[in-house]
Subunit: 363 residues, 2 copies
């Protein structure tokens, strides 16, 4: 019964965020049309990306707000949710350029949409370059929009507030964390193998865990005026949850079903991502197998057969099982911290459901 | 005498902005070091880029503020100047990736710095890709910083203020304008030649003119609480000035001295920029010459000899003279509008000096 009413409330919030996003983007249509009707496509790309998705960040923010006594589906928390979704969209657009990911949620990623536009029209010069350039600009616009929406909340996100601090911290940490991620791709093979797992865990923390779960939850709490102690409790729950969430992502990046993830199989391996799972594999596999995997990471032309062989090494070496066990451990720590929070039962139930979905997901 | 004291005041403001930028970036050093000492390089890249430069935007903002009765070198206007410089740095970082410009102010551009870092360390995988990815992230961080600094001004830039509106508008217009710019590179050759100059002028307006002069000036005025009428007067002066400024940029992009501009000769031609100067050339040159120019735009491997031939067509066809005459016309309109402003003599003198420098510059 309780779960049902929680789900209904959550649904109401989600549709509020969707309406807010659509309304905001519509409000920019006149401005962009006046510059040139050709620029409206930037808004369309952003709109497609913020339609759908798991809304994990917006939901963490919402239940952080509700746990700290914020009102049901209040205007400011809906707006904060919209700002987080726009930030996530901006990050995805640039991430897909960086990772050369041509697919996102089963469709073409933004830079691919633009290179396809180039191709359809038979335009001059290089279509791939055009696609990357247009996606860099779309991501920049989306990043600005995210901040514009966040600032529009007014006093609760003004200079000097805790919410503003969290928002600033979140952005700097994600960008620095993403840099660490690409740095590890190129420099990891030249660094001590013994600390690879540790480096991968640090990358996870900053590029994903803090930003996907901890910061949104704390932001919601801060907006509702939560005391520092509650915000620390939120962190104690959400940070290990975020680590489990990203470890699941790493596993799905190698073992996920393309039909469910919307991304080609083994994408992370072709990209050369040096994840915790990869670190565990290189440490646990025999020398020959480890070398086999190491040499193939980051090869764009990796065959399906090679991907299958890498998967086999990950399974046989026990690395996959070790990753699953890490996910289990982090989840346990998160659930224990959640149970210790002094917040109403409703938000606890919802946060537990979110946590389970984040860790057990197939996409 | 007046010019001297104005120059001293301007110098004081500029050094205030420099100190604010250095202080802000220093304040982020601890955060980034804690994530990983490897990420501090992102701050270094940003710091190098905001050190030096013409500070045109910060200065327009300052004199807009002073013209509207703002106090001498007050804290909020120094912070606004720093925010504008960070925004400009973010735009330059991404612009250089988009334009594949390997040089900026005589040194390597940010993406080149990172690909050189890759090379120096002999890291794995592709150094150019790493450079682009790292520069995308550095630009994103810088864009976030710009907004963080802007918001830190507090009440004068809070949600709903005119200053906030200008800041939001500026960002959206620049990004949409830059998109039009890259769109014209690829689609321009397929569009009616008769409207090429008009399209190029629209691009100039949004990607550069409004953002380099109009928005900063209006922002300064808005921060000082200027009435709408004065802000309209600011626009009437600064928009044509910005157009003249960008036309000068276009001319320098083809005819500039690399020793002074800090960029290779003919960079804009290799990039395929379809500027007003190019549009005028294609319209004024004979069919054969026009075709010669048209076919070479955007060719990375353009020889110095070909660049010299394109220059010759621009001169012989009268296109260069026409561009200079446009610069003259826009400047005249700007000076007339400046004279009509009801603001103290000091800011008028300073704005006139800035305008002259912007239009007559060699770099």
């Amino acid at each position: 019964m309780q779960l049902e009413s929680q789900a209904a409330e959550q649904e109401l919030f989600i549709s509020g965020v969707a309406r807010e996003l659509a309304g905001f983007l519509d409000s920019k249509r006149g401005l962009l049309s006046a510059i040139s009707p050709d620029t409206v496509i930037l808004l369309d790309s952003i709109r497609d990306l913020v339609t759908g998705g798991k809304r994990l960040r917006a939901l963490m923010c919402y239940w952080g707000w509700r746990g700290a006594g914020g009102g049901e589906v209040s205007a400011e928390i809906v707006t904060a949710g919209a700002a987080l979704e726009l930030f996530q969209a901006a990050a995805l657009i640039h991430d897909d350029i960086i990772d050369r990911s041509d697919m996102r949620r089963g469709g073409p990623s933004v830079h691919r949409q633009f290179s396809q536009l180039h191709q359809r029209h038979g335009w001059s010069l290089d279509g791939e370059r055009f696609g990357h350039a247009a996606a860099i600009l779309t991501g920049d616009l989306c990043l600005s929009f995210s901040e514009e929406v966040f600032a529009s909340i007014g006093a609760p996100t003004a200079a000097g507030t805790r919410a503003r601090e969290v928002f600033n911290l979140m952005r700097a940490e994600v960008m620095a964390g993403q840099y660490l991620d690409i740095l590890e791709e190129v420099s990891g093979p030249h660094k001590p193998a013994g600390t690879a797992v540790q480096r991968a865990q640090s990358i996870i923390r900053y590029k994903s865990a803090k930003y996907s779960t901890e910061h949104p939850l704390v932001l919601g709490g801060a907006l509702a005026g939560a005391p520092s102690q509650l915000l620390s409790g939120y962190s104690a729950f959400a940070l290990p949850l975020g680590e489990a969430f990203q470890l699941r992502d790493d596993v799905l990046g190698v073992f996920g079903d393309p039909g469910t993830t919307g991304k080609p199989a083994g994408d992370d391996l072709r990209e050369g991502k040096r994840t915790v799972l990869v670190g565990l594999t290189l440490a646990a596999a025999g020398e020959e197998e480890a070398q086999f995997v190491d040499e193939r990471l980051g090869r764009q032309e990796l065959s399906d057969d090679e991907i299958e062989q890498i998967r086999a090494v990950m399974i046989a070496s026990g690395a996959l099982a070790a990753a699953e066990s890490l996910i289990e451990n982090y989840s346990d720590i998160a659930y224990t911290a959640l149970a210790a929070l002094d917040i109403p039962a409703g938000p606890v139930v919802s946060l537990r459901a979110l946590a389970t979905a984040a860790v057990r997901r197939k996409s």
